[in-house]
């Protein structure tokens, strides 16, 4: 089992009436009314410190991702964060999991191939290369990519990236969307033939097919927990089986929100308001933003209209206990968290690459460190060995780190290496 700490880098101090006053947390939140650059600089530094704390505490990897014009996550360049993390963790066996730089919005997309190769070089071959399609909000609404071209651009950029990493000779790329006459990447990644590739998705059938066809790790970055993801992930595993691939749990990644305290009651006391902040404010956007016309191909559109994803109750009407009961958040004592992660996520969804979100919404820095510390000490060690007996190989993890177990280091140790 590989367990990584994920971070969204949210605005931690949105006003109490945010969701009533503004139409969306994404695309249109007004910066000048809601944020202040020096304070935001503090958020970035907390985010980096929290991920470095996780790296020293014994997590297998640290994850950042890309969003634009989004108050719940504003790392427009995850690779800037990744560069800091790579440098500061040198000498450790923590993977730098970029979940990641969005191909269709990077022009030309070999920019992502170059930056990932830099990260792989800086980190000594510890990069996991997430190659996301990107959300319609980021790609279509903020970055102006035509919805109908979104997937086609992604597929072309994906093929170009993989080739750019591996080609021995300079090559010309005469694509439909990208034309480059002299592709000759400097630098190339340490990991050969290329760093492990993870493709995040949100349940679209065409992404299942794509992930299996390219033999990548399919990651469901969910905010609604394993129960809600069950039928979706079953759909993925069905495609894996149908295409004659093995059910290696490392083919799947999953993001789970987690909060840990000494007891279930203490967890509620400490984390309830931050969990509610996340679901009430951070996930506040008009539902149609998720599917602008043309973003889904015709087959997916027909199936989405015929069987709309059952409208889960509006999260704004739910409270902490509902989120915990539904599994959106796994929260409680170390034993509670361990058992639920094992049953619902790891076994329930057949997941080998687990990502946990431990800084949630308004959660302050100190409490975040406390959550990470308790998870690392009392939950992580009990889950780590989960798939060992079955003998699966995690082909989707840096080869040099596959069999290592990061051990907790005293603060500062990693950066001395």
């Amino acid at each position: 089992m590989k367990i990584s700490a994920f971070h969204l880098m949210p605005h931690r101090e949105l006003p109490p009436d945010f969701e009533k006053r503004y139409e969306s947390v994404w695309v249109t939140p007004p910066w000048h009314e809601l944020a202040e650059p020096r304070r935001v600089g503090q958020y970035y530094n907390w985010t980096l410190d929290e991920l470095l704390f996780a790296a020293r505490a014994g997590f297998d990897g640290v994850c950042t991702n890309e969003h634009h014009q989004n108050a719940y996550g504003f790392m427009p360049s995850p690779n800037i964060m990744g560069a800091v993390l790579a440098k500061a963790t040198n000498g450790s066996s923590v993977a730098i999991v970029q979940m990641g730089a969005t191909l269709p919005t990077s022009n030309p997309p070999i920019r992502v191939a170059e930056e990932y190769a830099m990260l792989d070089c800086i980190s000594g071959g510890r990069l996991v290369a997430g190659l996301p399609l990107g959300s319609p909000m980021d790609v279509n609404f903020c970055y102006g990519i035509t919805p109908m071209e979104h997937r086609e651009r992604y597929r072309e950029a994906f093929a170009l990236t993989l080739k750019a990493w591996q080609a021995r000779e300079i090559f010309a790329w005469n694509g439909r969307y990208f034309q480059l006459a002299n592709v000759n990447l400097w630098p190339r990644p340490i990991q050969q033939p290329h760093p492990p590739v993870w493709v995040p998705g949100s349940g679209s059938i065409s992404t299942f097919d794509f992930a299996v066809e390219h033999d990548v790790c399919y990651c469901f970055l969910s905010y609604s927990g394993a129960k809600a993801a069950k039928s979706m992930m079953d759909g993925y595993w069905q495609v894996v089986t149908d295409r004659g691939k093995d059910a290696n749990p490392y083919r799947a990644g999953f993001l789970q929100l987690v909060t840990v305290a000494e007891t279930d009651a203490q967890a509620e006391e400490k984390y309830a308001k931050h969990v509610e902040y996340f679901y009430h404010k951070c996930l506040h956007w008009p539902p149609q933003y998720l599917s602008p016309p043309g973003n889904q191909d015709y087959r997916s559109l027909v199936s989405a209209v015929a069987k709309p994803i059952r409208h889960a109750v509006d999260p704004k009407t739910l409270r902490y206990r509902d989120f915990v009961e539904k599994g959106y958040v796994i929260s409680g004592s170390p034993a509670t968290v361990r058992d639920r992660l094992k049953e619902e996520v790891i076994k329930g969804l057949n997941v080998g690459n687990l990502m946990v979100l431990l800084q949630i919404g308004s959660m302050p820095h100190e409490l975040t460190l406390e959550n990470m510390d308790l998870f690392a000490k009392k939950v992580l060690p009990e889950l780590r060995g989960h798939w060992n007996e079955e003998g699966w190989v995690n082909h989707w993890w840096p080869a040099g780190l596959r069999d290592t177990v990061p051990t907790a280091m005293p603060a500062g140790a990693a950066s001395r290496a």
């Binding site: 035509t146 109908m148 149609q288 602008p292 016309p293 043309g294 191909d297 015709y298 559109l301 015929a306």
Partner: protein
Amino acid sequence: MIREQTLSVWQNRVRMRVLSDGSGPPLVYYHGPWGLTWDPFLQSLAERFTVYAPEHPGTSPSAHDDIYHLDNLWDLVLCHEELLTALKLDEVAMAGHSFGGMVACEMAAAYPRRVKRLALIAPLGFWRDKEPVKNWMMVNPPEMPGWVFRDAGSEAAKQMIGPTEPPDAAAAARVKLMWAMGATGKFIWPIPDKGLKKRIHRVTSPTLLVWGKDDRILPPVYSDEFTQRIPGARLQTVADAGHAPQVEQPQAVARMIGEFLGA
């Protein structure tokens, strides 16, 4: 009796369905972003013209994926020109609504000798920072009729948006609408100014602009962009109508356009 034919263009990769009716001189009508509906407006024009109403690539039944064979507006204009040739139409009167108005104007700019007269109903094609075009593709679908029509509750408005009952018919209408918006949106995302200002000087045909007074998608001031650039072009506004005046006031708009194109 509405005739239906499907013609293949673009090296047989793009199938385009054309609805037609009436007799008299040919009139080609290009539909807007919400797909083609043979409505009272077209029926009324068919009393005076042979109306040909082609569907934009990708919006014809069973030809959804054909849209992926076109990359840009230039490809689209060429496709429509090939279609005119396939229909054996040499010189025609041309009309279009919204996205279709922009296509008609592009056709008239690209092929000025083929377009005898031009009637544009609330055509896209320009952008003003101070009066931005409302992006209907970002609007919550149930709220869209409120943006498109002056009176979203009218029967005519419902006919363009499609039924809400029974569930099967509603789902089919929703798919048709979403896909039509996607396939037309491909050529205008994210801002519907794709360079018409560089080409519009090539339009030589007498031109009529028709605009709903209460257009909330594309404010009527956009008519200036056309009337200032096409010599002799004039504007007629339509009371009690939004962005689809030919749907809300079919007889009035058919009469304006019929008189202009038939002159």
